[in-house]
């Protein structure tokens, strides 16, 4: 229990550090939301100044940070100057869309990678394993961006899949979303598979080679039981860390794909905010995605702690 | 006035975080002689070795070398040969690089003189000249021990301290190294302090033995006396543990 509490505290401190860092960094950035306005000769400097005061951009840094923290704790993520609306509501819709995308993709990727990796590990040196490794290596060398563009190209050509957005007007809800999800998810899964399969294969291989596995086999334990009752749990440790990390990147893994394929998630939202120098949004998104990362690692740590008695010894 | 002993240690103590490793160690050693320290692990032998060779600073006590109080400038006169020759040599360094490293560090000598010295040193310990450019990992355990000795000789020390230097070597190799050390002692008048947990390992070389237990010297006598009239129970235990100890070839 104390270990968990310590890790939680550590995670919280980390987040505080991240928020301070991002906030300070935003402050150092030349220009703010009103830079463009300032350069516009038609707008009076007094107007710009008044706008700044109105949006609170002229108060000293520590004050602004404290105010920001206070509002975040209340659930208020600031005000987006570009969208002229509170950031919070804008965020949640986008976060949901992203999580739908990455959640589905991550789930599918693990669903494929686990059996594939285990099979590869048990069938090492055979033809099937070699083919699998070559194909996956090649896949690893193909940039996600290219896959996304090619898929979109095919979608436009064949008309089988929609080419953007999450829903089409006037269509049945779930099926429609699924239809729109298909391509982006496919791209993400193809991107995640090679490394995942490699890790699963490596973990399983290590366990299969261990003296413990060899002696279990010598005892004549039937293959299925051996695999699932004995070997898989032993291979679990590095995979748990990986799973935690997978969870942690749920919010951030799909930025590029979302932008290219027109999925209305955090990615495009973030990009627009950057171009518009809408720092409230940029800050909120950075903190949010960092929180996910920290939470993911924390979860992995805690799970490992529960599962691996060796860590408890420390 | 009698001549000062070569090495004189008075009341040497060393504690780590309040726990004493050696307490009040006192002994003398004459030039050209060999003193063996034996005792179980944890008896402070290695700590003593390190205190004498500048690797640790004693908490209290005095060390006198050739009538002078031991100072940092006298570092070259006392050399320690470590417990594991394998790890005390950088496996990627060549034999030449290893034996000349002490001189390089002190910026003594030029590339040419160092190479000459390196082959001399190798010759001294019975290693072939061709081995000069061979990396250390290609040498056997016994050869590495000889390299370590050669390196220790580079700064022409007067006192060599060998800490468990025979552990892990098989008997024939032990014999070779022992012969080498005896030879060097005769030729160069070196003084040795040997550290070991096993009496048999130092028996041939050591003219005097000091038995250590829990950081203190519990018995200190010449080899013959120790064999004939052991005083301390630990000494007796150590003697019993060793199979055959003869007094052949004993130094005076």
């Amino acid at each position: 229990m104390r270990y968990i509490a310590r890790r939680l505290l550590h995670g919280l401190l980390l987040l505080v550090g991240v928020s301070m860092l991002s906030f300070a960094f935003a402050e150092l950035a030349p220009g703010d939301y009103f830079s463009e306005l300032r350069n516009d000769p038609r707008v009076l400097p007094e107007t710009v100044a008044a706008l700044r005061t109105q949006s609170g951009l002229d108060r000293p840094l520590p004050l602004r940070y404290a105010a920001w923290v206070a509002s975040v704790l209340r659930g208020d993520f600031g005000y987006s100057l570009a969208y002229n609306s509170p950031v919070g509501p804008l965020l949640w819709g986008r976060v949901r869309a992203t999580l739908l995308l990455t959640g589905t993709a991550t789930f599918l990727a693990w669903l494929i990678a686990l059996p594939l990796g285990i099979w590869n590990a048990t069938a090492r040196g055979t033809w099937g394993d070699s083919v699998s490794r070559v194909v996956l290596s090649f896949l690893l060398a193909v940039p996600d961006l290219l896959i996304a563009i090619v898929f979109l190209m095919l979608a436009v050509e064949t008309g089988y899949f929609p080419t953007g957005g999450m829903v089409s007007p006037g269509a049945l809800r779930v099926q429609d979303v699924a239809w729109h999800l298909a391509l982006p998810v496919a791209v993400l899964v193809l991107g995640m598979l090679p490394t995942l399969v490699r890790h699963v294969r490596a973990s399983m291989a290590e366990v299969l080679d261990s003296p413990f596995a060899l002696s279990a086999r010598a005892q004549g334990i039937p293959r299925q039981r051996l695999l699932f009752r004995h070997l898989l749990p032993a291979a679990a440790n590095p995979l748990i860390s990986l799973a935690g990390f997978s969870l942690g990147t749920l919010l951030s893994a799909s930025l590029l794909i979302e932008v290219v394929m027109g999925w209305p998630g955090l990615g495009p939202f973030f990009l627009e905010a950057i171009m518009a120098r809408d720092f409230a949004v940029v800050l909120a998104v950075v903190i949010l995605s960092a929180s996910f990362l920290v939470a993911g690692n924390l979860l992995a740590d805690i799970l490992l702690y529960r599962v691996d008695p060796r860590i408890r010894m420390k | 006035m009698a001549a000062d002993p070569f090495l004189s240690v008075r009341g040497l103590s060393k504690s780590f975080a309040g726990r004493p490793a050696i307490q009040n160690v006192t002994f003398d050693l004459e030039r050209g002689h060999t003193l063996g320290f034996v005792g179980p692990s944890g008896s402070g032998k290695s700590t003593l070795a390190r205190c004498l060779s500048f690797f640790e600073t004693p908490t209290s006590g005095e060390i006198w070398l050739e009538g002078q109080k031991l100072r940092a400038a006298m570092r070259a006169d006392i050399q320690l040969i470590f417990q594991e020759p394998a790890s005390s040599l950088n496996p990627r360094f060549t034999a030449a690089q290893i034996v000349t490293e002490p001189l390089l560090i002190r910026r003594i000598g030029t590339a040419k003189t160092l190479l000459l010295l390196a082959s001399e040193l190798l010759e001294t310990v019975g290693l072939p000249r061709q081995a000069l450019q061979t990396p250390a990992l290609e040498f056997s355990g016994g050869e590495r021990q000889r390299l370590a000795i050669a390196r220790a000789l580079a700064l022409t020390p007067k006192l060599l301290i060998l800490d468990e230097s025979f552990a892990g070597l098989d008997l024939s190799v032990q014999a070779q190294v022992t012969n080498l050390l005896l030879d060097l002692q005769q030729r160069r008048g070196l003084t040795y302090i040997l550290i070991s947990h096993d009496l048999a390992l130092v028996w041939r070389l050591a003219g005097e033995i000091a038995v250590m237990d829990h950081g203190a010297i519990v018995e200190h006598a010449g080899r013959a006396d120790l064999l004939a009239r052991p005083q301390h129970p630990l000494t007796r235990a150590l003697l019993n543990a060793s199979l055959t100890l003869s007094l052949e070839g004993a130094p005076a």
Binding site: L14, L15, G17, V18, S22, F25, A26, A29, P30, G31, S137, F138, L140, A141, V142, P143, L145, L146, I149, V150, L152, M153, A155, V156, E157, T163, S252, L255, L256, V259, V260, F270, L271, I274, M275, R277, V285, V286, S289, A290, F292, L293 | S53, F54, F55, R75, L80, F82, E84, S87, S88, L89, N90, R92, F93, E101, P102, I105, R106, R151
Partner: protein, 277 residues
């Protein structure tokens, strides 16, 4: 194939690929900005006029894709290389300092590294890029990209190197050298740094492709190298005319060009990780 031949082969191939882009000036038939407005979207190997051949076709403005591929490759590949060099240099310096000296320096660096790692990578890159002036010259953009991509990625190499240094400084030969009066600088230079070489090399094979992709992503999004200077990233951005992309399939060339580069680094990485001398 033995490990050594694999490494040699991968390196030779890398050399060839980089040779192509380094000598872009010689090899490219056309300057990268030269437009042939009368021949937009010509297919590859089309000879639209005598002595006017486009090896990989042209883009919307009639610019030779092959030439732009070479020049663009220069930007993308070398951003990756230089940024990786920066990350590794930083990682080496900081990791060695943290591992060797320990104490508050170690704690400070490792905590700082944790902070940097807590931020998702691409978001961090974009945010850092965003917080700098949007409109800059190409040269500035190039060095800015290198600085950002490389400057953010020092943490993992630093951690790994720190681990190596921590165990290295306890080794017998380091202690022995210290006993001979060696200074810290000597110990680091002669004994410890050579031991970090393995880690540095394997990290390089991992970081370089990652960073090439980062440059491509940033330029694709418009935050990297900008027109008219080509980079494989901004060239891919042009390929986004989906209704016509199937007919203008050669616009995908920059994306396809990345594949052999990444494959090569992958093979190199695998070969380095194999047990060998």
């Amino acid at each position: 194939m033995t490990r050594r031949t694999k490494i040699a082969a991968a390196l030779v191939f890398l050399g060839i690929l980089h040779g192509f882009v380094v000598f872009a000036g010689f090899l490219a038939p056309y300057p990268y900005a030269e437009q042939h407005r009368e021949f937009p979207y010509s297919p590859p190997l089309s000879a639209r006029a005598p002595e006017v051949v486009f090896l990989l076709g042209t883009d919307a403005y009639g610019r030779d894709v092959f030439s732009r591929l070479l020049y663009g490759g220069r930007v993308s590949l070398f951003t990756g290389l230089l940024a990786a060099f920066l990350s590794l240099a930083l990682g080496l310096a900081l990791g060695t300092a943290a591992g060797f000296y320990g104490g508050w320096l170690d704690r400070f660096l490792m905590r700082g590294g944790e902070l940097v790692m807590a931020l998702p990578w691409l978001y961090l890159l974009l945010a850092v890029r965003a917080f700098l002036p949007l409109h800059i010259t190409t040269v500035q953009a190039f060095f800015l990209l290198v600085a950002i991509i490389g400057g953010v990625g020092w943490v993992r190499p630093a951690r790994l190197i720190r681990g190596v240094v921590l165990s290295a400084k306890e080794r017998g030969f380091v202690l022995a050298a210290r006993g001979f009066g060696a200074s810290n600088a000597y110990l680091i230079r002669r004994h410890i740094l050579p031991l970090t070489l393995g880690v540095v090399l394997t990290q390089a094979t991992v970081l370089i492709p990652q960073y090439i992709l980062a440059e491509v992503a940033l330029s694709f999004l418009g935050l990297g190298v900008a027109e008219p200077v080509p980079s494989w990233g901004n060239m891919l951005a042009e390929a986004q005319q989906y209704h016509a992309l199937v007919e203008h399939w050669w616009m995908l060339a920059p994306g396809l060009a990345i594949i052999p580069v990444l494959l090569d680094y992958l093979l190199l990485a695998d070969a380095l990780l194999e047990k060998g001398d």
